[in-house]
């Protein structure tokens, strides 16, 4: 059975929520799809203990209860052809037809290899935040948060709220870069308030600049980490290490649809015009998938995309002005938290890079080109389809693109959608 919607929105984070709502208000039928069981995306991920901010709750409620919107949770897009998407939910796989499509697939965390990063107890920073919100036991646990970017503070605050003893936050960026950044903050007063609120929640937790976790140690689980700071090295005993190096847009579906991508630092984002239109007719994109911009740009871009997808002409111009300001903030963030050389040099020849297939950096380096390395080592051909290792290798400036598109993941959308069984197991091809 093929369902059809005037507008299908993929992703129920801030961008997808406002896109669905804006489109529905134009009177069209909307299907809102998310792989997660509950709406909210990353920033408004459901927390089993604490309720979401009032604004988030209102936003989710207004969208999910809208009579023109069908909410399709636990539904993953696994294939695409022009005009229709192959989706899977826990019960079935089926085609969803659309008049227009809004991609609001958000971003994932950039996780970089270092000695010991595969030990149980080491998670992403946003990763630990997501796990904690879903009930991961943290009460009384000694947690260290490390890596780079504003997400470290949010992750530390969530861990603390869930009862963790947050020992410290280690930020790889230098203090000087951060000072330049804060001097410019007056242009975004809302952000200053947000930062101040986080600081209050983290009172008493030491925050160190220019500091990198160089190794994690333990037998079958994390026991201790090594940290290299501006002045000294030290070892810290802990139960959880939450370490992330910023975000990378989830462009896989857009790429499968043939949307043009462009560089976002070492990663890629979907290229859109002022109406959030991608290079493919009837396909729009909004939020982090168009470049890391945070919640505010996601909300605004979602609304623009939802309107544009219905062909609306009015209401877009004022949103476009607000978007420009929100995006400018994101650019500043990117410069401030640019990944330094020390982080890039952490992985050793015997450090695993591909966690699915257990391929070391040394094994990859033995091959002259990315394709040869991939075929010989299977790096990037495991279930994550390179989402972890290819993202990391791109960030490290090594063998970029090694697994961005596995050979068994054909570029032609038609074949991909119709050839689910061999090479690309449907449920693994998000």
């Amino acid at each position: 059975m093929a369902e059809r919607y005037d507008v299908v929105v993929i992703g129920s984070g801030p961008a997808g929520l406002t896109a669905a709502h804006a489109a529905a208000r134009q009177g069209v039928r909307v299907g809102l799809v998310d792989a997660q069981a509950l709406p909210g995306g990353q920033v408004w991920r459901h927390d089993v203990r604490f309720s979401a901010p009032a604004f988030a709750r209102r936003c989710m409620q207004a969208t999910l209860e809208h009579i023109k919107i069908d909410w399709l949770p636990q539904t993953r897009v696994v294939g695409a052809e022009p005009g229709r998407l192959l989706v899977e939910d826990p019960r079935s796989a089926r085609w969803l037809k659309y008049g227009a499509l809004v991609l609001a697939t958000g971003a994932r965390e950039v996780l970089l290899p270092f000695p010991g990063w595969t030990l149980p107890g080491v998670t992403g920073a946003g990763g630990l935040q997501a796990l904690a919100k879903q009930g991961w036991p943290l009460a009384g646990k000694r947690v260290v948060v490390a890596g780079s970017g504003p997400l470290l503070l949010a992750a530390a605050a969530t861990a603390r709220r869930h009862g963790a003893r947050v020992l410290a936050v280690f930020e790889q960026a230098e203090r000087a870069a951060m000072l330049r950044f804060t001097r410019g903050l007056w242009r975004w007063p809302a952000r200053v308030l947000q930062a101040a609120a986080l600081r209050t929640q983290l009172a008493g937790v030491p925050y160190h600049f220019g500091s990198v976790v160089t190794a994690a140690q333990g037998e079958d689980a994390l026991r201790e980490i090594e940290v290299s700071g501006p002045h000294r090295q030290r070892r810290i005993a802990c139960d959880q290490l939450a370490v992330g190096f910023g975000l990378a847009p989830n462009v896989e579906l857009a790429r499968m649809l043939g949307c043009q991508l462009e560089a976002e630092g070492a990663q890629q984002r979907v290229r859109v015009d002022a109406r959030q239109h991608t290079s493919v007719p009837t396909v729009y994109a909004a939020g982090e998938v168009c470049g890391i911009g945070g919640r505010d740009s996601a909300l605004i871009e979602g609304a623009i995309a939802g309107l544009a997808a219905t062909g609306a002409r009015t209401g877009i111009a004022s949103l476009q002005r607000r978007r420009a300001q929100a995006r400018a903030f994101a650019r500043q963030l990117r410069e401030t938290f640019a990944i330094g050389e020390r982080v890039r040099a952490l992985a050793q020849p015997d450090t695993l890079v591909c966690r699915c297939e257990d391929v070391t950096l040394g094994a990859l380096d033995a091959h002259v080109d990315a394709r040869g390395a991939k075929l010989a080592t299977r790096c990037g051909m495991g279930p994550c389809q390179g989402r972890i290792c290819a993202t990391a290798l791109a960030e490290l400036g090594r063998a970029a693109g090694i697994a961005a598109r596995p050979p068994l993941f054909p570029a032609r959308l038609e074949s991909l959608a119709l050839a689910p069984a061999d090479g690309v197991a449907p449920s693994l091809a998000t």
Partner: protein, 81 residues
């Protein structure tokens, strides 16, 4: 106070708060999630359905992402850790 449910991880009952993920249940049971190709112990990494490190068997169905599923009372979870 939030209610709790009981799920079975590797034959052992585990209490978790209602609405928590299968990943949370496995962590509470103190179990590893899986063994890697070369035999290393692994556990949830990304918490958001990307890394596939949290794969476990649920009610007889293998290779399920524990971080993407809400635990239900009586669920049978098996890890290979």
């Amino acid at each position: 106070m939030s209610t709790c449910i009981c799920v079975i991880v590797n034959g052992k009952p585990v209490e978790i708060v209602a609405g928590a993920s299968v990943a949370a249940a496995v962590a509470r049971a103190g179990s590893q999630f899986r063994r890697s190709r070369s035999g290393e112990a692994r556990a949830a990494l990304c918490g958001m359905g990307v890394c596939f490190e949290c794969r476990v068997e649920i009610d007889g169905v293998p290779q399920q992402q524990a971080c993407m599923l809400i635990a239900r009372a009586g669920m049978q979870v098996r890890t290979d850790g």
